[in-house]
Symmetry: C2
DNA sequence: CCCCGTCATCGAAGCGCTTCGACTGGCCGC
DNA sequence: GCGGCCAGTCGAAGCGCTTCGATGACGGGG
């Protein structure tokens, strides 16, 4: 492996000149630049990341913490991940992958060892122990999600409250007035993931504002859970004509159950789902859905991390507006 | 951030002693070790990764290259990823995530910059351009999948040929003699992913060996693709009584199509699928399946990389034996 | 009693890069 | 015609760690 001094020798200049050609931090004449670049190409020189990190205290690496076992669907996580990696590359950064199960120790390890310049943390919970830990690090961090108290740490996420409201007004626009929310499994609420409760309170508020008759129920996973949830809804809200489904796992069994009990979607029952595009289109009925903009969220998280890194101030928090995509699961009230 | 010399001063020893306590490469008396460790704990010292990499030419980081857009299902990829990250941590390594779309350049970048000690590459194709590139790196690498010519690079994967044979003998054991293979979409074959052709040739061979009547067809994605594929199969192999499905996306539409055309699974038609556990159990019928051992493959890939790193010789290639899990989609021939 | 081998520890030389201060010509303005 | 300035370049001092050879103390064998 050639070093910077090999390049310098080959180009007939000093090490520092090569360094300045590479970083552009000082003016170097066009001819010299050309010679240096030629030498670099010829030798196949790559600056040594460790040496660079040592000398400059910058690693060009971002840490990304992903959840291992989750209630939020795996494809969505993967979308976040690829968005983050792709966005990081546009800033010439790479991504070190950590898992949530390492908890606070993982953060401290990579930050303490100066392996990364900044951290992006997914799946933060209401009262996440990692938040105070992040605050103690010398590297900046960005949360994907909203804890109760972000303690000054930057956050990005879909505006779930506004999304719930959008779903309701979309259905209200079709004439529906009796609407039920099929929520995530109780485990999600208990775990303290705030998107569930943010969605729920947005739902409740908008329902009151729009004068709708609504009920909301969490939904256990599996066909039995769906059946139980539907039964409860029918009992509490007879003549319900539309469902808002904030539970990806429930979608398929739900459609199965409705079909086998003879309720047609959308003729008898309209549905709006909160899920990524491909889930909405991959089911037996193409669902009208509020999109989960995983790609945008990931990209914005990286943008925020980069602003933080070069000292620019960033809005502490970004809530992305919802987008509803009309497909085949909403009809006017029967 | 405290440095090793802060620790040394606090413990009243030299820097090198601290280093030897940390690495264990030379004997240090118990008392000295205790003092050093106390100082480390008290100061909250973490060795600087860059400095360490510079001095030792070891980074304790593995690169993992994942495909971005794929025909193999996202949850499977994610299983590989989490297995690799988890296994890497047991060796005190971290994982740098690269995407396949960076191609050869990504590999050369991280290897050239000495950001990683070894590379693990997923989704390798028949004649992958990355293979010669990997050969040129000074870091060892492990492929997940089997190219036509691995050029001496280590490989791990499920033994797809043996898997096909297992599926057939499982069905033959239930008395089936007329069996069709619903293969991946033609795009997969064209892209040159070898697992498809390995499976197909295993299928053909075992079919001959067992004296079965079989046909094999690729299957375009979507409901129409499934319908077309079934039609072809029925035309070429009337009275087909079992299907081997090597196409995760086709599974749901396939079951839909069979149901709506009145063919019951497994009474009228038995099915063995090749897919991960959760897919097999998440469908309307719990499918008997040959498991895709993503977790094991990921773990073994890391083990192989580590052996390569400390100079131990490893088998150049590991093919994992298939496991068939009996569920509700296989019945004796009607 | 001396020599030698062992064990535990130290000192210093890098590893490859960035960065800061200093140096050199040329060119301007007065 | 001289001081000052700027563009362009160089030299050297680290950055924090590992590692190798050297050193000192100590005990055992001759």
């Amino acid at each position: 492996m050639p070093t910077i001094s090999d390049v310098a020798r080959a180009a007939g200049v000093s090490m520092s000149t090569v360094s300045y050609v590479l970083s552009g931090r000082r003016p170097i004449s066009a001819e010299t630049q050309a010679r240096v670049k030629a030498a670099i190409a010829e030798l196949g020189y790559h600056p040594h990341a460790g040496a660079r990190a040592l000398a400059s205290s910058k690693t060009s690496v971002l840490a990304l913490v992903v959840p291992l076992r989750v209630d939020v669907s795996v494809p969505v996580i993967m979308q976040f991940v690829t968005a983050v990696v792709t966005a990081a590359r546009t800033y010439n950064h790479d991504v070190l992958l950590l898992t949530k199960d390492e908890g606070t120790a993982g953060l401290e390890r990579v930050a303490g060892a100066t392996m990364v310049d900044a951290l992006i943390v997914m799946d933060v919970e209401r009262d996440d122990v990692r938040i105070p830990a992040l605050g103690r690090l010398k590297q900046p961090s960005v949360l994907i999600g909203f804890p109760d108290d972000a303690a000054g740490i930057a956050c990005v996420d879909l505006d779930f409250a506004a999304t719930a409201a959008e779903c309701l007004s979309h259905l209200a626009g079709h004439g529906h007035t009796r609407i039920a929310l099929v929520g995530p499994s109780p485990a999600v609420y208990e775990r303290g993931t705030t998107y569930a409760s943010r969605f729920l309170s947005g739902f409740t508020e908008a329902s009151a504002r729009l004068g709708l008759d609504t009920v909301a129920h969490p939904c256990e996973p599996g066909a039995k859970g769906v059946r139980a949830c539907l039964a409860q809804i029918d009992a509490e809200l007879p003549d319900v004509s539309a469902l808002v489904v904030h539970n990806e796992e429930a979608l398929l069994p739900l459609l199965e159950e409705l079909r086998s009990s003879g309720r047609r979607v959308p003729q008898d029952l309209s549905i709006v789902a909160i899920c990524p595009r491909d889930v909405a289109t991959g089911l037996p009925v193409r669902l009208t859905s509020a999109d989960i903009p995983a790609h945008d969220v990931g990209t914005i998280a990286v943008d925020m991390a980069m602003s933080l890194l070069d000292g620019r101030r960033t809005p502490g928090t970004r809530l992305l507006p919802p987008t509803i995509i009309e497909r085949d699961s909403c009809a006017p009230r029967p």
